[in-house]
């Protein structure tokens, strides 16, 4: 959050939030006959939150741990010097690290704050929620115990994440965090006693939770409103070629903001409506970026960076997924 002592809200954040709020509050009036669905909206909204909050809490605890126990020296020694190697390492670490898309944002922010290069942070951000045992298992189950879709999801997702992180490494030199100052890490000499540090870890986690959760709440509310008021069929208006339906499925993934552990079943339910290429796009794109996630990212990174990242993820995933249809 941009709460440094001097400046408070950054203008683009305000505009964005106003747009979101305006949309949320006025959209029901366009569909007046559906006003009775406000209790439904509330239930869906709360269920997204109740589902996501445990993962956010785990995320902020890890972020608190990193803040207190991991020094910049550690990180420097872990990250390879060459860009390509660093991106590859970060994508692999992300793939091994079981996280979900809301929990990973505070972790990435803390890592970058501690001196992890931006491109490595992005690699970790993209593969963390996409590739992990639970997601693989649920994809495998959802597609009728067929490993093909699960493998494609991991493979295409991993290569796309590599490509996106590499492009980021050429486009951005600075860390793109909103806050200017980097936290000064305590040197080993004046390290406080363990009890103090554990306490510090929890206090950091609390502050981090307060930073993150308001964006999660706004994101969940918008996603729930869309589910309640906008019929899925309205997406079909775009057209029905593979190229169109892939865009439709990516749009759906973005706006539904589902947890990567649960989206495979939803994706699978579209098998008769759309070709598998489009469903693959849904599965790869959703965990990388979605509405809820993007609002959280906007709270951490500069708006311009988030926008570029969004465009990159969208175009690269679209391109790579479309290429698989020629295989």
């Amino acid at each position: 959050m941009p709460y440094s002592k001097k400046s408070s809200f950054n203008l683009s954040t305000i505009i964005f939030l106003l747009l979101v709020l305006g949309f949320v509050f006025f959209s029901p009036f366009f569909v007046t006959e559906k006003m009775t669905s406000l209790p439904q909206l509330n239930t869906i909204f709360l269920s997204i939150l109740i589902e996501a909050i445990p993962f956010v809490l785990i995320g902020v605890l890890i972020a608190g741990f990193i803040q207190i126990f991991i020094t910049e020296e550690h990180i420097k020694s872990w990250i390879p010097k060459s860009k390509v190697k660093a991106v590859l390492t970060s994508c692999i670490v992300g793939a091994l690290f079981p996280a979900c898309e809301c929990g990973i944002v505070p972790i990435v922010r803390k890592l970058i704050d501690k001196g992890v290069p931006l491109y490595a942070g992005v690699g970790f951000l993209l593969t963390g929620p996409l590739i992990n045992p639970i997601v693989i298992l649920s994809t495998y189950m959802a597609f009728g115990n067929d490993m093909r879709m699960a493998l494609l999801r991991m493979g295409v997702g991993f290569i796309a994440a590599l490509a996106i992180a590499l492009v980021i490494s050429f486009l951005f030199k600075s860390n793109q965090l909103k806050q200017k100052e980097r936290s000064v890490s305590n040197s080993i000499a004046k390290r406080p006693p363990l009890y103090q540090r554990v306490k510090g870890m929890f206090q950091h986690s609390i502050d981090e939770f307060f930073d993150m959760s308001k964006y999660l709440i706004i994101g969940a509310f918008v996603a729930a409103s869309l589910q309640t008021f906008v019929p899925a069929q309205s997406l079909l208006a775009f057209g029905d070629s593979v190229y169109h339906s892939t865009i439709v499925m990516m749009g759906l993934a973005f706006f539904l903001s589902l947890c990567s552990e649960a989206d495979a079943f939803i994706g699978a339910s579209f098998r008769n409506l759309f070709p598998s290429t489009s469903i693959l796009a849904f599965l790869v794109y959703g965990p990388m970026i979605d509405l809820k996630n993007m609002i959280m990212l906007l709270s951490v990174f500069k708006a311009r960076f988030v926008f570029v990242l969004f465009l990159l993820i969208t175009s690269i995933v679209y391109l790579f997924v479309t290429l698989t249809s020629f295989l």
Partner: protein, 303 residues
Amino acid sequence: MQFHLQHFIKAIVLGVFVLFFLDLHLSGDIMKYINPKYQNISKLAAGIFIVLFFVQLFRIFQRKGKGHHHGCGPGCHHGHDHGNEQFNLSRLFSYSVMIFPIITGFAFEPATLNSTIASNKGSIFSQVNQKETSPLNETTLTDKENIDIYSSDHVPLVNNNYLSNEEYEKKLLLLENSETIQMQEDIFGTYYEELNEQPKDYVGRTIKMSGFVFKEDGVNSNQLVVSRFMITHCIADASILGLLAEFKEANSFKEDTWLEIEGVLDVTKYGEYEIPVIKATSWKVIDEPTEPYVYPVLTLADS
């Protein structure tokens, strides 16, 4: 000693979150939001909230100038919310946002998803997959560590949905052999999938099921869809399952009425799809069941 308003407010917010999560679990309302399978992780969240709440309590009264003593050293400016700064409008906004879901959560009863949401989900019948054979819900859960909690007696769960392989096989046999196909909650997803994959195999069989009335665009006046929502993780990822039922009086039932219906299975065409249809012989209006949702079926490996 100094009183920190910010820390005080944060402690209150955390305290309210603790209450909210405890209330969800104690009242059993949690099941109206998420698949009971994921209860444990949400209990963990309640636990973390309690810890954070107590840590936060000690920050309300701190000696002056010790606001930053948590190991950052001097000159620490994360630019994030330490709670020591002045109270201003944007802060008021952010605390209001955080309290908002708690207020709506306590103020309104959780609703059951209804036909409005169903109509947003897209056509039921075109989602049904006929070509690939895909037992959508069949998993083998090798670790049993999550299971014990469901045997606890405080909240009886019909839909805990762990079946042993043996039970699962037995239920599948019942689908083939029993006189009446009973669409019980614990096997609903599997039966539903089977019926839709091979609708012809089941023509002439008797079926009994309950669900809410949903009238998809394009169904005739003597038809309605008896539907259930299937929840994978949380209500937001619900997908709609429904069987078409046909009887003269179908017209007189409003959407969202819960029906128990019995009839004989047949096959009909819906667009280009062949789908099962229930020629209803008897039906009655029932109350909404305490567990309106069904969940993917998980089987336990018999180790």
